[in-house]
């Protein structure tokens, strides 16, 4: 299992807590960035290993249920969720600069 790029770091101020706060952002500039999110995500999906890509694509782009994905790919529910979680986490991490750019950067937690 490769390490998630997405986790709070072990060396953060309180163990197991965010080294820096992810920022949801709320300013109007967000609208300018939104269009880019989709394009950026496309790149992220293309770069994923095929097992992650297939699960992410079916669940989140096509909107299949987890049961449908499990039966189409003949995989277990837990396995499906692990793959989906990794794929989504990578996508989120790849969009981090956008989230930070919007909210004016990270705060210390």
């Amino acid at each position: 299992v490769s390490p998630e790029p997405d986790r709070p770091e072990a060396g953060s101020p309180a163990p197991g807590h965010w080294a820096s706060l992810p920022d949801a952002g709320s300013s109007p500039e967000r609208s300018l960035l939104t269009k880019e999110l989709g394009e950026r995500l496309r790149g992220v999906i293309d770069a994923l290993p095929s097992n992650l890509r297939t699960v992410l694509w079916l669940r989140d782009v096509e909107g299949w249920s987890s049961e449908e994905v499990c039966s189409a790919l003949a995989i277990q529910e837990t396995n499906q969720r692990v793959l989906l979680h990794r794929a989504r986490s990578r996508a989120r991490a790849a969009l981090e600069p956008y989230f930070e750019g919007i909210g004016g950067g990270a705060k210390r937690g």
């Binding site: 998630e4 997405d6 986790r7 709070p8 163990p15 197991g16 807590h17 965010w18 706060l21 992810p22 920022d23 949801a24 952002g25 709320s26 967000r30 609208s31 939104t34 999110l37 989709g38 995500l41 496309r42 095929s50 890509r53 297939t54 992410l56 694509w57 079916l58 989140d60 782009v61 096509e62 909107g63 299949w64 987890s66 449908e68 189409a72 790919l73 529910e77 969720r81 989906l84 979680h85 989504r88 986490s89 996508a91 989120r92 969009l95 989230f99 937690g109």
Partner: protein, 281 residues
């Protein structure tokens, strides 16, 4: 809460997908939500994960020929089953409001001013029930009771509809995430019972300010995510907005900006003020 039961941010980050799938055990879910309630970092994290999911849900699926063979094969299978949710949405389901028709995946803001307009909402539920769909009410107990009384007046037996799970009264939770999970669970339950679609009626503005009620901020967060949830589950969602008592910002942001469609003065209309969640949140 005892420190030993506390969830860390790290644990929470690992469980987000399971949480969003509604697959945590009740105990884990309780720990998850307890942590989330008090941690703005994790709230932002969960928000971002949701934003990723809803942005993905708005992407155009690639054309068949651009796909690797393995994905193309799966897409074929999907389309063959007639489940593809993309493309033109045909509005052919009687909405039960005026003489309008709706499509699965619609998320509608219902603006009401007069008592007559409020009572007319029962038509939305009655139409759903008559089509064999499940109806989920989420709102203040007084609002629910009034709508259910209107259903009775139309000759429907609320008691037997509730017993058959065609009518479900969902519990109100104070967070957007909790509410989304609650609605999600009801929709999945109805789908498992073989119902073809679920009509959700949200009336969260009635109980504003009462203890345990979601704050305006949480209601707005919920609304921003409902459109993509409605599109991925077999549901129609109508949210009720009282134009005479709600403050302007709630009407503008919650009513206008979060709904692709509005119903006002007996007409269903496409809403040019709708803002996708990526821009809204």
């Amino acid at each position: 809460m005892k420190p030993s039961a506390d969830m860390t941010c790290h644990e929470l980050a690992e469980l987000v997908t399971t949480y969003l799938d509604g697959a945590l055990s009740p105990r884990e879910r309780e720990r998850f939500e307890a942590h989330l309630q008090g941690c703005s970092g994790c709230q932002a994290h969960v928000s971002q994960m949701r934003l990723v999911v809803s942005t993905l849900g708005q992407m155009e699926p690639p054309a068949g020929e651009d796909l690797p063979a393995e994905q193309g094969r799966i897409l074929e299978l999907f389309r063959a089953r007639g489940l593809h949710r993309r493309g033109e949405r045909e509005r052919d389901i009687p909405l039960g409001l005026g003489s309008e028709r709706a499509a699965i995946g619609d998320h509608i803001a219902y603006f009401w001013e007069s008592e007559r307009e409020f009572d007319a909402i029962a038509g939305y539920l009655a139409a759903g029930v008559s089509l064999g769909q499940a109806c989920v009410l989420i709102g203040h107990v007084a609002a629910n009771e009034r709508l259910l009384a209107n259903l009775e007046r139309q000759g429907l037996s609320v008691r037997s509809l509730v017993e058959e799970h065609q009518l479900q009264v969902a519990s109100v939770r104070s967070s957007a995430d909790g509410l989304l999970l609650e609605v999600d669970a009801r929709i999945k339950d109805a789908a498992h019972r073989g119902m073809t679609a679920v009509r959700v009626l949200g009336n969260l503005n009635w109980g504003r300010g009462t203890p345990g009620w979601p704050s305006d901020r949480e209601i707005l967060r919920l609304e921003a995510h409902v459109t993509s949830a409605a599109e991925r589950l077999p549901s129609i969602v109508v949210c009720v907005y009282d134009v005479t008592t709600l403050p302007g910002p709630m009407l503008m942001k919650g009513g206008l900006e979060c709904h692709p469609l509005t119903f006002h003065r007996d007409c269903l209309r496409p809403n040019a003020h709708h803002v996708p969640p990526g821009q809204f949140l």
